[in-house]
């Protein structure tokens, strides 16, 4: 799979997902919802390949059906009464539609998050925190090193203990608990013991002698600037559009909206371009690559 957007600067990646997930949560207009869902879905296919179509549908469909059915059971707002429930409460068309819309919103946000997990690696998180304060990024980086090591060592100790007859996975419950407590206590000793040496290694390499700088492997290039400018321009237009009612849609008590106008189409288009930005970048890079290749 190509993954061009991933090579962009972490700040671009982060801002994109922050905006996109934010927009997806706020804009409840069915057209916006559809744009966000299709954008997230197609990007996840671009990122993770065809097999993700199946896995996406597997969690998306049940969520939508469940929420569309459950919402009217608890939400009785709306004026279009279809029938009365056994409890005597009304079943309204608005609540069914709202349930479906909310479900679409939830699944597209989940889908965006899964995409962002692919892009925002631990490196990038560490870097972004490093922008705030260098020591925070060091703490994060050390945690990312420590936790897997701790788990590995715990497993190794448990295995070795099993070899001399102290089994955590079988035998009498009381013995298992005793062994588990022992392993945990020695693991604390182990952590402290190792921390002393790590501290030595840090001091030996000048930790604490001067104000730290935060080195990073990322460079803010021209394409990052272009992406950022595009995002800001589109984002501003979308937010303005939302403020001036271009995406107005109300579910209760009666479904009301502003209709489709040239203005609202322009806002939706901006939103669509925004939602498809990573996909556009991927496609564009592939095209450019092909063009360069054909020249050779």
């Amino acid at each position: 799979m190509t993954n061009e957007f991933k090579t962009y600067h972490p700040i671009v990646n982060f801002l994109y997902f922050a905006f996109m997930i934010g927009f997806s949560c706020v804009f409840m207009h069915p057209v916006s919802l559809a744009i966000s869902l299709i954008g997230a879905f197609s990007y996840s296919v671009v990122l993770k390949g065809r097999k993700s179509i199946k896995s996406n549908i597997l969690y998306m469909l049940p969520t939508v059906v469940l929420m569309a059915l459950l919402n009217p059971l608890f939400n009785h707002q709306g004026v279009t009464i279809l029938t009365y429930l056994p409890s005597g409460n009304p079943l309204t068309a608005e609540s069914i539609i709202y349930g479906t819309s909310a479900a679409v919103m939830v699944i597209s946000v989940i889908c965006w998050f899964s995409c962002s997990n692919e892009i925002m690696t631990s490196d990038k998180t560490v870097y972004l925190f490093g922008r705030v304060t260098p020591s925070l990024s060091l703490i994060l980086s050390m945690t990312f090193r420590f936790v897997p090591r701790f788990i590995k060592q715990t497993k190794a100790v448990a295995d070795a203990q099993r070899g001399i007859g102290n089994d955590v996975s079988g035998g009498k419950l009381i013995n298992r608990i005793k062994t588990a407590v022992k392993i945990l206590s020695i693991m604390i000793t182990w952590s402290l013991e190792n921390a002393v040496e790590t501290a030595d290694s840090m001091k030996s390499r000048g930790y604490g002698t001067k104000r730290r700088t935060a080195f990073s492997i990322y460079r803010f290039g021209r394409r990052d600037i272009s992406a950022l400018v595009a995002m800001l321009a589109l984002g501003t237009y979308i937010v303005m559009g939302a403020v001036y009612g271009g995406m107005y849609f109300s579910y209760f008590p009666l479904i009301t909206h502003n209709g489709i106008s040239v203005y609202s189409i322009s806002v939706f288009s901006a939103y669509a371009i925004f939602a498809f930005l990573p996909v556009i970048i991927e496609v564009w890079e592939v095209m450019r690559w092909k063009a360069i290749k054909s020249k050779i």
């Binding site: 990312f144 897997p148 190794a156 102290n166 182990w190 390499r205 604490g208 730290r212 080195f215």
Partner: protein
């Protein structure tokens, strides 16, 4: 000019009567390569740590240490951090961050170097070490040898004047260890960095070093060129002789090549009597207690086979060694014998209770003192005190198991395993990190056990140890055994994978596999 000048340095740890260092005087010239050796606990680490203020242990120090002509205490921390590079023994604990690039940059970040300069220096260093491919890797994806090279690179990136290494290869396998030492040599030769290296793998270090310093009981007992140090130790018949490289033990030369030339010359004018080598060791019985037939194993369904058609037969009461390189499946084979993993094809028949000593003995300890740890095994007092006797643990009973030295921890863990009264003892790299002296002690314990009918199976990289002490050796390659024989038969027929004594004596005394053999054949002492 001297890099370091140490004058009458003595050091005593708190709560200790004995001096850890006693009146040490030593001068290290700029660009010199010094090898510091001595038995575990002789004060090497203490001395090395006193050469950098932030690492100096607490205690009472007398005497003076000068760094580049300035008293060490007066050299500011920030200068010491960059000018004195220190690589420690433990491979894992030295690594601070999770990514290779971050680790390389750590020192420079601490010194407040601007990002652009860090980029240049890190890339320069990665190129020098040939580790550019790893740059984006996670530290946890590197092998042990690679991790130690990373530690070295992250120190070198600060461009130190002096590089101090405290037993850096003790946790590495032989191949990674010699790669590591070659890199240190390259740094010394090409960057003119002063190197002070403490080692117990002397075979390679002696060839590289300009000078060897031998310590014993906190004192310097020899300080001379490698060849002369060999002469001095042999003249005094010191314990350390058994740790010397084979060519140096037999003659006064350093390499196998020189040793062979010497031996060929020697045999022209003197009689070499192969008959003096004690040929066959007697084994207790020929009753097989472990049998494996055409065993196949893989860890996961979609992964390749690790064990491919392994067959072996191990007799009761013998020491059986499985030798082979990294990643050939030796440890996996051991886990199959131990019943931790089950083969998907073939059969493993084991008659007797199995005890297993893991590669890292620390994994077995869970209590606050060694004694508590042993008591936990619920043995009678009689058995317990006997075990303490056999494993020589009397002096360490009240210590925390994590405070023991490599050899002591190994023996304490062994005692713990033995208290389960196994009839078959499985050992994974038992000599890793042990010096020559502790290896001999371990061998004594193992010998004692086989006398009582315990079968010992070990997997190891340590050719010399297996040659010296095992009854049968197997060569392991690509998931199965390629050859099995007594060590003498096996190594006699090998050209590369054999002891250095054998390589040296091949043309004159093909049967010799140990330095002792050559000495005997040449008419030396019993």
């Amino acid at each position: 000019m001297e890099s370091y000048k140490i004058e009458n340095l003595s050091f005593t740890y708190p709560n200790s009567e004995k001096k850890a260092l006693c009146d040490i005087s030593l001068a290290v010239e700029r660009g010199e390569f010094i090898c510091l050796c001595g038995k575990s606990g002789c004060g090497k680490t203490t001395l090395l740590r006193l050469l950098k203020t932030t690492l100096s242990p607490f205690g009472k120090a007398d005497g003076k240490v000068y760094f580049n002509g300035m008293e060490l205490g007066a050299v500011p921390d920030i200068e010491q951090a960059s000018k004195i590079g220190f690589v420690m023994q433990d491979v894992e604990n030295q690594i601070v961050t999770d990514k290779v690039w971050h680790e390389l940059a750590f020192g420079l970040e601490s010194l407040g170097v601007p990002t652009n300069e860090i980029r240049t220096r890190v890339s320069e260093m990665a190129e020098f070490f040939g580790i550019t491919d790893w740059f984006y890797k996670k530290v946890s994806d590197l092998s042990g040898g690679e991790k130690q090279l990373l530690n070295l690179a992250s120190v070198m990136v600060m461009n130190p004047d002096v590089l101090i290494l405290d037993e850096p290869t003790s946790q590495l396998d032989p191949i990674s260890a010699s790669e590591f030492l070659r890199t240190v040599e390259k740094i010394n030769r090409e960057l003119a960095t002063t190197v002070i290296l403490s080692e117990h793998r002397l075979e390679e270090a002696f060839v590289m070093a300009d000078r060897v310093v031998v310590m014993d009981n906190g004192e310097i007992i020899a300080d001379d060129t490698p060849k002369n140090v060999g002469k001095i130790l042999k003249k005094n018949n010191h314990d350390m002789v058994s740790a010397l490289p084979t060519p140096l033990r037999v003659a006064d030369v350093l390499t196998v090549r020189e040793g062979r030339i010497w031996l060929e010359e020697f045999s022209k004018t003197n009689t070499v009597d192969e008959g003096r080598i004690f040929r066959v060791r007697e084994t207790n019985s020929c009753k097989p207690c472990i049998e494996a037939k055409d065993v196949w194993f893989r860890y996961e369904k979609n992964k390749p086979d690790v064990i491919k058609g392994l067959s072996l037969k191990i007799n009761k009461g013998e020491i059986y060694a499985i030798l082979g390189g990294n990643g050939t499946g030796k440890t996996t084979a051991l886990s199959l014998i131990g019943g931790i993993n089950r083969p998907y094809g073939g059969k493993v028949k084991v008659s007797g209770k199995v005890g297993m000593l893991p590669q890292n003995p620390q994994l077995l300890f869970t209590e606050k003192t060694v004694l508590d740890d042993l008591r936990q095994m619920k043995a009678d007092d009689g058995v317990l005190s006997q075990m303490i006797e056999v494993c020589e643990l009397k002096n360490v009973l009240n210590q925390h198991p994590y405070d023991l030295s490599g050899g002591e921890a190994q023996r304490a863990a062994l005692a713990k395993v033995l208290l389960t009264q196994p009839e078959i003892l499985l050992l994974d790299e038992p000599t890793k990190g042990l010096d020559a002296h502790f290896k001999d002690k371990l061998a004594d314990v193992l010998r004692e056990l086989t006398k009582n009918g315990v079968t010992v199976v070990m997997v190891s990289h340590d050719v010399e140890f297996c040659a010296k002490y095992s009854d049968h050796c197997s060569m392991f390659f690509d998931g199965s055994i390629t050859a099995t024989a007594t060590p003498r038969e096996l190594f006699k027929n090998n050209t590369f994978y054999t002891t250095s004594a054998n390589r040296m004596a091949k043309t004159v005394i093909p049967d010799a596999i140990l330095a002792e053999d050559i000495i005997l054949a040449c008419g030396g002492g019993e």
